[in-house]
Symmetry: C2
Subunit: 314 residues, 2 copies
């Protein structure tokens, strides 16, 4: 069977989980107080408003996002890049400047890596190692609160506009979120402050619903949604072109926002802390029944949609 | 300027060294007793006698080779793979079997990683983290001995035959060295036994001469060659088709043999130890004058040739 017919998520579930256990391809690996992550993409995944510098920056951000969201301070990153040898040296240099600048921003040591030829598109991978600051050991319980660190919808606006040949206008902030995503380093201070009340976390890489489904599978609790925290003016803009909440959720990949499952009694204090540090956080919802693996909104089970590397958006 | 005109090695020297220091793209990174490496290649780099399983195995071996040769026990590996979604699921599974089997063989924990779509060729990267067993702290001196862990020439035979449309016969062992390379894990016991007498080490990835030049640059000593340790029957075979020592050296990439710079007084004992453990080691040569960065054979300076990812063989 072809990979495009199975899809990435199902391939991992069907073919790899039996050897490697669950979640291994979605989450970060933690052992002895260190966290390990590798993340990458092919070089053809970029828009006309992005340049090679942005590619390097974005690749580092994608890896660092998982490390920071897991409550670990990123320490070391390595890169592996494949490019066509017809490329101009200045373009490859720009990728490295992007990596080096991002490494400075996230205060992580960039220690080099590998460089290869690629006959076609090329690729970039960033491996990262972090040091765990908080070992969140709380068991999940019904009623635990799910906080989303920031508003979403910005990347959806870009992806949906892209699918419409860019005939839908895009907010400048949305373009920036795709071109130059930034993970808020204050998440690490959030962990330091509230470590004892955090149950679990994940970032939003393939779309909010996929992240929620992974969270539900991992904790083995259903998730009851209250508010998706979609940016209002993005919502209004897309609504004018016939796109609704479901579409925004489907196309919400690469937001680099974080989801935190936290203890109810601290949720309000956490939100206030996050506002204070300029996050636009909200309570997304809460854990429902143990042993159920559904995502529910207004009493209805949501169909999971988002990005699959082999299928595309589904 | 195009990358193919500068070449990978010169690009690193010219554009990256100023930011990242020297050697950062050739060697392994070491900090606080841990070693870090990422290594990869595009998926089109394989011969008809190789299958997808071999790709996974070989990618792990390439990364583990650097870690083991540096005197570190490999502990954790992660993979990032890009493949075309038209690929059969069984083929991608085979890559993972190769990774998983190699991880078992090298006693390293495989903890997953990333999976991506690639419109064309695809790629595989393996990141590895090792624990330093020996912190070789000896300063180099004129007269230090260079040991090569094994005979070379096997991969040269395959590459040279390939450049001749496989009209030159290939020894079975040579084919195996390319298809299913194995790093001898006893190198770690060698380090345990002789740690106090080892000055430096490197593996042979882009060709013996390039590895020697890197070693010479790093230690800041010239290198005087005595014997290249080329396998006799490979040498005889290639000689019949007009290829000599220089050609074998030029095409000697991906041997996964190790070079050790060691103290003279222990060299003989080390060689005996290595013979005992079935290495076909030899004294390759010794360090010459400090401050010189030449490779000399029979009094003549050797021109450096080997593999460059942007130029090819040069």
């Amino acid at each position: 069977m072809k990979l495009k017919d199975i899809g990435e998520h199902e391939f991992i579930r069907r073919s790899l989980s039996k050897y490697l256990g669950h979640n291994i391809f979605y989450d970060i690996y933690t052992e002895d107080g260190f966290t390990y992550k590798i993340d990458g993409f092919q070089l053809s995944y970029f828009f006309s408003f992005m340049d090679y510098y942005d590619i390097g920056w974005k690749a580092v951000t994608a890896t660092v996002s998982d490390i920071i969201t897991s409550g670990s301070k990123p320490r070391i990153i390595l890169s592996s890049i494949g490019v066509n040898s017809e490329m101009e040296d200045k373009q490859l240099e720009a990728i490295f400047y992007g990596i080096i600048n991002a490494a400075e921003y996230y205060e992580v040591k960039y220690v080099g890596g590998d460089l290869n030829n690629s006959e076609k598109n090329g690729w970039i991978d960033i491996a990262g190692i972090g040091k765990k600051l908080c070992d969140a050991k709380n068991n999940p319980e019904e009623g635990d609160i799910i906080i989303i660190s920031d508003e979403i919808g910005f990347t959806s606006e870009v992806f949906i506009s892209y699918l419409n040949n860019f005939n839908i206008p895009i907010h400048e902030i949305s373009k920036l979120r795709v071109k130059h995503p930034i993970v808020n380093k204050n998440i690490l201070n959030f962990y330091k402050e509230f470590c004892n009340y955090i149950v679990s976390s994940t970032d939003i890489s393939d779309g909010l619903l996929i992240s929620l489904q992974n969270l539900s599978d991992r904790l083995n609790y259903s998730i009851l949604i209250e508010d998706f925290n979609i940016n209002h003016s993005v919502y209004e803009n897309l609504r004018r072109y016939g796109y609704g909440v479901n579409d925004i959720l489907k196309y919400s990949g690469e937001e680099f926002s974080s989801l935190f499952v936290v203890k109810k009694e601290k949720a309000q204090e956490m939100l206030e802390w996050l506002y204070h540090y300029n996050f636009s956080s909200k309570i997304l919802g809460k854990l429902g029944k143990e042993g159920e693996n559904e995502i529910k909104y207004k009493g209805n089970k949501l169909a999971i949609s988002g990005w699959d590397n082999f299928k595309g958006w589904y």
